[in-house]
C-alpha cells in the first residue's frame, strides 16, 4: 500500500485529521516541553503572555501554558475513555436489540429510551455529586453512562436492516453462532456508523468533562481545560481582563471538537454520496457564476440559462482535450459499429427535436460523456421507446430534455427544441426560469421511475393534484380544481373518493396510476415515462400499460417511454431508439427494428429475446 493512499482526499477530513493530530502531539509532548510546573505558584500574578510565560499567568502566578498542555492530556484522555466506554455500551445494546428482536429488543429499547430522554448533564451532576472521590476513570464512566443511548438507537436501526441481508442469512445457514454473526458479520458492515458514533462520543466526553470540571465537580487535583476555566471563573479572570487565562482552554475544546466533527463529515459523505461538496461540483461552479442568477434550477442544469452558448469551453482546457481524446478513441475502436439511424417516416409535426446533444459528468477520474451526439425527433402523438441497459445514458438524455439534470451533469453541446401547436420553436436549454416553469406540466409532464417514491409521502393525493393545477390555472376556483382531480383519478381507474388518501395508504400499482393521473391533469403534449412499470408485479404492469396506451388514444399526447425491456417497447412503441455508452446505436420505426435490426448490439438483444420466447 502506498503511503499517499492513506491521505484522505476530502479537504475537510484532512483538516480534521491534522487538527486532531496536533492536539494529540500537544497532549503527549507538551508536558515534556513545558518548563513550568502547572501547579507551582509564583509572584508573577496575572501576567499577560510573554517570552517567559507563553500564555501568561494565573492569579496565583501559575503558568497558563503549562496548565494548558497538561490539561490537554487529561481532557483528551477523559474524552477518549468516555468515548470508548460509551461506544462499547451502544454497540452491545444496539446489536443485541436489533439482532435478537422480540422481548430482549423491547426491553433494551425502553432502557435506551429512558437514557435518551433523561437529560445527561443534570444526571451527570447528580451522580458526580454523590461520588466520594472523583478520579479520571470514574468521571469517564459516569459520562459514558449518561451518553450511550443515542448511538445505540442508530446501531439498533442499522442492525435491523442488516440482519436479513443475504450474507447474514448465509452465515446463519452455515450454523454460525449468534454472537459470532453479530460481532463478525453484522458489526463489520456498520463500521462507518460505529466510527461516527465514536467521534461524537469523544466530543461529548470532552465537553461533559469540561462542563463538570467547570462546575467544580471534576477532579480538582488534576488540571484539565475545564478546571482551568473553573479557576479562571472563580478568580474573576473576566473582570480582570485576563483573556489569556480562559480563552485558550475553551478555544481548544471548540477546535478539537470541530476537528473530530470534520472527520465525521468525511464518514457521512462516504456513506451518503449526496452530501459531497468536493471538487466534482467545483467545475460547474465556475460556469454557474457566469450565469448570474444562480437559482436552484440553474444550479442543477449548470451552465445552461447563462447568456453564453453552452460550449465545452465552460470546462477547463484539460477537460476539452479529454473530450476530444475520448471521442477520437471511441470512433477509432469500432468504426464498423457506427450507429444505424433511419429517418423516421412517422406522420405528424415534430414536437421535440434533439440535435447533437452532449452531456458530461465531471468526475474525480476525468469527464464521463453520458450522452454523446444524440439527435432525435419526437412527433405529435408518437410513442418513442428509449431502450438501453442501466448506465447507457437514457435517463441522462430524458433528464436533459425535461431540464431535470442535477449538478455536476453539464450540457456540453447541442440543442433541444420544443415546438408548439403552431410550430413556433422554443429553445428548451435557454429558457428563463419563469418561462420554463410555465411550460412544465402544461406541455411536458413526467412520470417517474420509482412510483413508490414519486409522490410526496407527507401530503394527500388531493394536495399533490391541487398544487400543480393552482399554479398553472390560477383562475380556477378550488371546487373546480377538486373536480378536475377527481375526474382524472377516475380516468385511471381509481375511486375518486380516495382523493384524500396519503401515498402510504395506496398500493404500488395505485400509486403509479395516481402519478399518471397527475401527469395528465393539464393535458400535456408530451409525457416522459421513466420505467413506469418496472417496480410493479406482472399483472399490475400489464394493467398500467394498457391504461397508458388507451389514454394516449384518448388524449393524443406523445410519449417518451424509457425502459431496459426491449420486448415491451416493440409492443407499444411507434419508433425505438437504442442507447449504448451514451450514443444512439439504433433509431427508427419499431417495425423496422423488429424485422431488420442493423446494429450488432440490437441484433444480439433481439436474438436473446427470441430464445427466451419473449417475442411471439
Amino acid at each position: 500500500m502506498k503511503l499517499s493512499s492513506l491521505i484522505p482526499r476530502s479537504g475537510k477530513v484532512r483538516t480534521g485529521v491534522v487538527v486532531v493530530l496536533v492536539f494529540i502531539v500537544i497532549a503527549v509532548l507538551g508536558p515534556v516541553v513545558a518548563t513550568h510546573d502547572p501547579r507551582a505558584t509564583s509572584f508573577d500574578m496575572l501576567e499577560p503572555p510573554s517570552g517567559r510565560y507563553w500564555l501568561g499567568t494565573t492569579q496565583s502566578g501559575q503558568d497558563v501554558f503549562a496548565q494548558f498542555v497538561h490539561g490537554a492530556r487529561i481532557s483528551l484522555l477523559v474524552g477518549l475513555l468516555a468515548g470508548v466506554i460509551s461506544q462499547l455500551f451502544s454497540v452491545v445494546v444496539g446489536l443485541l436489540g436489533g439482532y435478537l428482536r422480540g422481548v430482549a429488543d423491547d426491553l433494551l429499547y425502553i432502557v435506551t429510551a429512558v437514557f435518551l430522554v433523561i437529560p445527561g448533564m443534570p444526571l451527570l451532576i447528580v451522580l458526580t455529586g454523590y461520588l466520594p472521590s472523583r478520579g479520571m476513570l470514574s468521571i469517564a464512566v459516569v459520562i459514558a453512562i449518561t451518553s450511550w443511548a443515542g448511538a445505540a438507537r442508530v446501531i439498533r436501526a442499522q442492525t435491523l436492516s442488516l440482519r436479513n441481508r443475504d450474507f447474514v442469512e448465509a452465515a446463519r445457514a452455515t450454523g454460525e453462532g449468534r454472537l459470532r454473526i453479530m460481532f463478525f458479520e453484522v458489526l463489520p458492515n456498520m463500521l462507518p456508523l460505529v466510527a461516527s458514533g465514536f467521534l461524537f462520543s469523544v466530543i461529548g466526553g470532552i465537553l461533559a468533562e469540561a462542563g463538570l470540571a467547570f462546575l467544580g465537580l471534576g477532579s480538582l487535583t488534576t488540571t484539565s481545560w475545564g478546571s482551568m476555566l473553573y479557576f479562571a471563573q472563580n478568580s474573576q479572570a473576566l473582570l480582570a481582563g485576563a483573556w489569556w487565562w480562559f480563552v485558550p482552554p475553551g478555544l481548544a475544546i471548540a477546535v478539537i471538537g470541530a476537528g473530530l466533527a470534520l472527520i465525521n463529515f468525511g464518514i457521512d459523505e462516504y456513506s451518503n454520496p449526496r452530501l459531497r461538496t468536493g471538487s466534482a461540483t467545483k467545475k460547474t461552479r465556475t460556469s454557474r457564476a457566469a450565469g448570474g442568477d444562480a437559482t436552484a434550477a440553474n444550479a442543477q442544469v449548470s451552465g445552461i440559462g447563462s447568456g453564453t452558448p453552452p460550449t465545452p469551453g465552460g470546462a477547463s482546457a484539460a477537460t476539452a482535450e479529454h473530450v476530444a481524446l475520448t471521442r477520437e478513441r471511441t470512433d477509432e475502436v469500432d468504426p464498423e459499429l457506427a450507429s444505424r439511424i433511419h429517418p423516421s417516416p412517422m406522420p405528424g409535426s415534430p414536437i421535440i427535436e434533439v440535435d447533437s446533444l452532449r452531456v458530461d459528468y465531471p468526475t474525480a477520474f476525468g469527464t464521463v460523456h453520458a450522452v454523446q451526439d444524440v439527435s432525435l425527433t419526437l412527433r405529435r402523438g408518437e410513442i418513442l421507446g428509449l431502450a438501453g441497459e442501466s448506465g447507457s445514458g437514457k435517463s441522462t438524455l430524458t433528464n436533459a430534455i425535461t431540464r431535470l439534470l442535477r449538478a455536476p451533469a453539464d450540457v456540453a453541446g447541442g440543442s433541444i427544441t420544443y415546438r408548439a401547436d403552431d410550430g413556433a420553436p422554443t429553445d428548451l436549454l435557454h429558457l428563463e426560469d419563469r418561462e420554463l416553469r410555465a411550460l412544465r406540466w402544461n406541455e411536458i409532464a413526467v412520470v417517474f421511475q420509482s412510483a413508490m417514491n414519486a409522490l410526496n409521502p407527507v401530503t394527500s393525493i388531493h394536495a399533490q393534484f391541487d398544487d400543480v393545477i393552482r399554479v398553472h390555472r390560477p383562475s380556477l376556483p378550488a371546487a373546480q380544481r377538486t373536480a378536475i382531480a377527481k375526474e382524472h383519478l377516475e380516468r385511471v381507474g381509481i375511486d375518486p373518493g380516495r382523493i384524500d388518501a396519503y401515498p402510504h395508504e395506496l398500493s404500488g400499482g395505485m400509486k403509479q396510476r395516481v402519478a399518471i393521473a397527475i401527469a395528465l391533469v393539464l393535458e400535456p403534449d408530451v409525457i416522459f415515462m421513466d420505467e413506469p412499470t418496472t417496480a410493479l408485479d406482472l399483472l399490475v404492469q400489464r394493467d398500467v400499460l394498457d391504461q397508458i396506451v388507451r389514454l394516449r388514444e384518448e388524449y393524443g399526447f406523445a410519449i417518451v417511454f424509457t425502459t431496459h425491456d426491449l420486448a415491451l417497447l416493440l409492443e407499444i412503441s411507434d419508433s425505438i431508439a437504442v442507447m449504448r455508452h451514451g450514443r444512439l446505436v439504433e433509431y427508427g420505426p419499431a417495425v423496422d427494428i423488429y424485422r431488420d435490426p442493423q446494429h450488432p448490439y440490437t441484433q444480439n438483444l433481439l436474438s436473446s429475446l427470441a430464445e427466451l420466447g419473449s417475442l411471439a
Binding site: G250, L251, W441, S450, P457, T459
Partner: protein, 325 residues
C-alpha cells in the same frame, strides 16, 4: 392514535424510571449523603443528629420497598422535602421560583435556535455547491464550542469590554419584581446575553442536521416531480424538500434537547441566572441533597414533557404515523 398512545405509554414509563432513578441514586451511590454531610461538618454533627438527617432524606432502616412506597407517597403529596442550605424552605418552593425563569429563558431560546437553525439549514441546502459549502466548517466549529465558554466570551465582549449588557442576574435588583413594564424590560434586558448564548450554542447543530437532510431529500423523486410540475421554487423547497427533511429533526429532538438543557444549565451558572440550572449548581456546591434530587426530578420531567410535545407534533407532521386513526 395507536402511535400516540404507545408514545404516551413509553413516556409514562420513562417518567417512572426517572422517579425511581431519583430514589435509587442516593441509596446506591458509594457515598451516602448522610456520611458526606457528617464528614463535611468535621465532627459537629453527633450520632443523634445523624438519625435526624437521615430521616430528612427518607433514608431509614426500613426495607427498600417500604422506603420506596413512602417516597412515592411524598411525591404524590408534592412533598419534596426541605432544603438543607436554605433551611427550612421547602424544596418545592425553590423549584417553583426558578422554574419560571428557566422555562422563560431556555424554552424561548431553544425554540428560537431550532427555528433559526432549521431555516438556515434549508437555505444552505438550496444554495448547495456555492459559497454556502464554505460556511459548513465554520458551523462545525460553532457547534463544538462549549456553551459556558461562549457565555464567558460574550460576557467579556459585551459586558466587560463594552458594557452593553449586564453580566448576570435575572433582573435589576433595585426594581421591585411585579408586573410593570419597567420590571419586564429589566427581565428582557438581563435575559439577552444568556439567550444569545443558548441560541448561538444550539442553532449550528440544527443547521447541519437540516442541511444534510434536505440535501438528501432533494435527491428524491418526489422533489424532482415537484420541479417538473413547474411549481415555484419556494413550493418545491418548503412544501416538498424541507417538509420531509424536518421529520428526522423532530424525532432527533430528544437527543439534541439533552445537550441544550445541559448547556443552558451551565449558561445559567455563568450569568447567575435565577433558574433551575443555577439552583442545581448551588445545591451541589452546598451538598444540599434534597434540593439536588428535587431539581433533577423536575428537570427530567420537563424534558420528558418537551419530548412528548415533539412526538405529538410529529403525528401532525407525518401522516404515516396516523395509520388506523
Amino acid at each position: 392514535m395507536k402511535f400516540l398512545l404507545r408514545k404516551l405509554g413509553l413516556y409514562a414509563f420513562i417518567a417512572w424510571a426517572a422517579l425511581t432513578l431519583n430514589f435509587l441514586i442516593p441509596r446506591m451511590m458509594p457515598g451516602d449523603p448522610v456520611s458526606i454531610l457528617i464528614a463535611g461538618s468535621k465532627g459537629q454533627i453527633d450520632a443523634e443528629a445523624r438519625d435526624a438527617i437521615a430521616a430528612q432524606f427518607g433514608i431509614s432502616e426500613d426495607p427498600m420497598i417500604i422506603q420506596y412506597v413512602h417516597y412515592l407517597g411524598d411525591l404524590l403529596r408534592l412533598d419534596l422535602g426541605v432544603s438543607l442550605s436554605q433551611y427550612p424552605v421547602p424544596v418545592l418552593d425553590i423549584i417553583s421560583q426558578s422554574l419560571t425563569w428557566t422555562v422563560g429563558l431556555v424554552g424561548v431560546s431553544t425554540v428560537v435556535g431550532f427555528v433559526l437553525g432549521t431555516g438556515l439549514g434549508v437555505l444552505l441546502a438550496w444554495r448547495r455547491g456555492t459559497w454556502s459549502d464554505h460556511v459548513l466548517p465554520g458551523l462545525t466549529f460553532l457547534n463544538a464550542i462549549p456553551y459556558f465558554w461562549m457565555a464567558l466570551i460574550l460576557v467579556m465582549l459585551l459586558s466587560v469590554t463594552v458594557s452593553i449588557f449586564p453580566a448576570g442576574g435575572g433582573y435589576d435588583r433595585s426594581i421591585f419584581p411585579e408586573l410593570t413594564p419597567e420590571f419586564a424590560g429589566s427581565v428582557l434586558y438581563h435575559a439577552a446575553l444568556p439567550a444569545l448564548t443558548i441560541v448561538i450554542g444550539s442553532f449550528a447543530g440544527w443547521v447541519l442536521q437540516m442541511r444534510n437532510m434536505t440535501v438528501t431529500i432533494m435527491g428524491e423523486d418526489y422533489v424532482s416531480m415537484a420541479e417538473a410540475k413547474g411549481l415555484p421554487q419556494r413550493t418545491v423547497l418548503f412544501g416538498y424538500a424541507a417538509r420531509n427533511a424536518i421529520l428526522p429533526s423532530v424525532t432527533g429532538f430528544a437527543l439534541a434537547l439533552g445537550a441544550v438543557v445541559g448547556g443552558s444549565m451551565l449558561t445559567e451558572v455563568i450569568f447567575n441566572y435565577p433558574g433551575l440550572g443555577y439552583a442545581l449548581f448551588q445545591a451541589v456546591s452546598a451538598q444540599d441533597f434534597p434540593l439536588m434530587q428535587g431539581l433533577f426530578l423536575i428537570i427530567s420531567l420537563a424534558v420528558i414533557l418537551a419530548n412528548l410535545i415533539a412526538d405529538v407534533a410529529y403525528v401532525f407532521l407525518d401522516p404515516r404515523t396516523r395509520q388506523g386513526a
